[in-house]
Amino acid sequence: MQQPDALPTPALVVDTLEAGYEPGLPIVRGACLTVQRGEIVAILGPNGAGKSTLVKAVAGLVPVSSGRSLLFGRDITRVAAHRMVFEGLAFVPQTENVFVNLSIAENLELAAAIVKADRQERLAPVYAMFPDLARQRSLPAGQLSGGQRQMLALARALITRPRLLVLDEPSAGLSPKLVGLVFDKLREVRASGVTVLLVEQNVKAALALADRAAVLVEGRERLFAPAAELLDDERVAALYLGRHTGRQATGALH
């Protein structure tokens, strides 16, 4: 894809990335994505398509065998996972995404201390955005419900003031009402100027939230288009079905 000179450097460029846990067994197979500044991009796709592996590879958690990822023009392909926050990328894992043995306040204070930021200056706006967390700040994170944990995980990531926020299935295990609350927060995050990339299973909710979405199948994006267009695009369902119910898909091919 040719970039006109007038456009600013994209927030993230994933360029024919190949990544996987075992050498020689790539799960992400040449995926390409461009996330523009200030947009929310959702990665959709059937189970096992490599959605989580793709964002984990971008976050430095899964070895990349070829290709590269550029964060605001800087090559971060070989940056260690623990250096990503210093590059401006915050990653929120799908599960076990808060330190359950630390209190809410300790979780957030630690996040601020790691990036050597002023504790009060960083915590105050985040507490203002998450009043529930502020109220229970001395509670151990292990005692929080699933929805509250997701909020704390999001808050912990925001403390580092990322330029790109990457989330792995933030709606996993949450009720539709809570998914709505989490997604509302992500809209607020976008409004504050942070670019968001998320993996989602929940196709409808994700397409309602995202500006653009990619459908990943077998480690490569098959579709990458504005979310509104994908909302009633038959190809999205076909790509999901092609994976899930092989019989129907082969039937259709014949």
Binding site: L61, A81, H82, P93, N97, L110
Partner: protein, 305 residues
């Protein structure tokens, strides 16, 4: 009765300090380090060597301080030993454990057995097998309570100091883990290493801190064992099983658990000496361990994940 309690607390101090280091290694470096006991042995002898250097340069450093059996020289030697033992723990990691970390916990455990044998025999080679002492001064135990009150109580000033310094050390470590960024990073890494990395915590830095703290506490424990009992190259192997018992008793990864576990094991040992005889003291720790694990399998302070 009271005397058993007092003696148990002194033995318990040494076990507690050693057990904290072992527990931190278990929860952060994630393997059972069977060479941890040897760090206590090395700590005690490194202090002996430092003390010899100090007293050779200035005779007055050996003069006993007030009611204690030792002088300023030993306190200085204790500091030197904490630094050297921490370096020894770091060196052991660099030379051995670090290289094997990707091979899994079993490999590390077996390697630590080898390290323990090597470290113990080096001690034996350099210092000999004859028990030694930091001071030749005899210390008279101060009667605190007469024999008529629950069998009476006599303690030495050294023992009281050991107990007080143990509590001070543990409190300092508690504050460090609770409030400092590095301490919180260690707790975060112990519970969730993958999230710790994502959050920006350098895993190597946390591992180094763990070895350093484990080494410092081992040196303090080793010197305390030398002050209250004697120095012997077999200190590490003698303490190894009580250390593990204390860690498991208290719950893996819990500092206060390791401390409480250490004191319980110490008390069980001291009680067994007067009840069933010194030959069975090692069994006492395990009898208590089995009993508590039957009631609470995660240990006293064990966290359920």
């Amino acid at each position: 009765m009271l005397q058993i309690l007092a003696d148990g607390l002194v033995i318990g101090s040494v076990i507690s300090l050693g057990a904290i280091g072992l527990s931190l290694t278990l929860s952060i470096v994630r393997f059972s380090n069977f060479s941890h006991g040897e760090l206590l042995g090395w700590g005690s002898y490194l202090a002996l060597s430092a003390l010899a250097v100090f007293t050779a340069t200035r005779e007055s450093l050996a003069a006993p301080l007030g009611p204690f059996s030792f002088g300023w020289g030993l306190l200085g030697a204790l500091l030197v030993s904490t630094v050297l033992t921490a370096l020894l723990a770091l060196a052991l990691d660099q030379v051995l454990f670090r290289r094997l970390r990707s091979q899994g916990a079993i490999t590390l455990v077996i390697a630590s057995f080898g390290a323990a044998l090597a470290l113990r025999n080096l001690l034996l080679f350099w210092y000999g097998g004859v028990p030694q002492y930091y001071s030749q001064n005899l210390q008279i135990a101060i009667p605190i309570l007469p024999r008529s009150v629950w069998g009476g109580l006599r303690v030495t000033a050294d023992q009281l100091l050991v107990l007080a310094l143990t509590l001070a050390t543990v409190t300092a470590l508690h504050l460090f883990l609770r409030h400092s960024t590095l301490g919180r990073s260690m707790r975060a890494t112990a519970i969730n290493p993958s999230l710790a990395r994502v959050a920006g915590i350098d895993p190597e830095r946390v591992l180094r801190a763990t070895w350093i703290i484990g080494g410092i506490l081992a040196a303090v424990a080793g010197v305390f064992a030398g002050i209250t009992v004697q120095l012997r190259p077999t200190l590490g192997v003698d303490l190894l099983l009580p250390l593990f018992a204390a860690v498991i008793l208290g719950g893996i990864g819990s500092v206060w658990g390791a401390v409480l576990g250490g004191f319980i094991v110490g008390l069980a040992e001291s009680a067994s000496v007067s009840i069933v005889g010194a030959e069975y003291r090692a069994a006492a720790a395990f009898a208590v361990l089995i009993l508590i694990l039957m009631v609470r399998p995660t240990g006293l302070f064990g966290e359920k994940h």
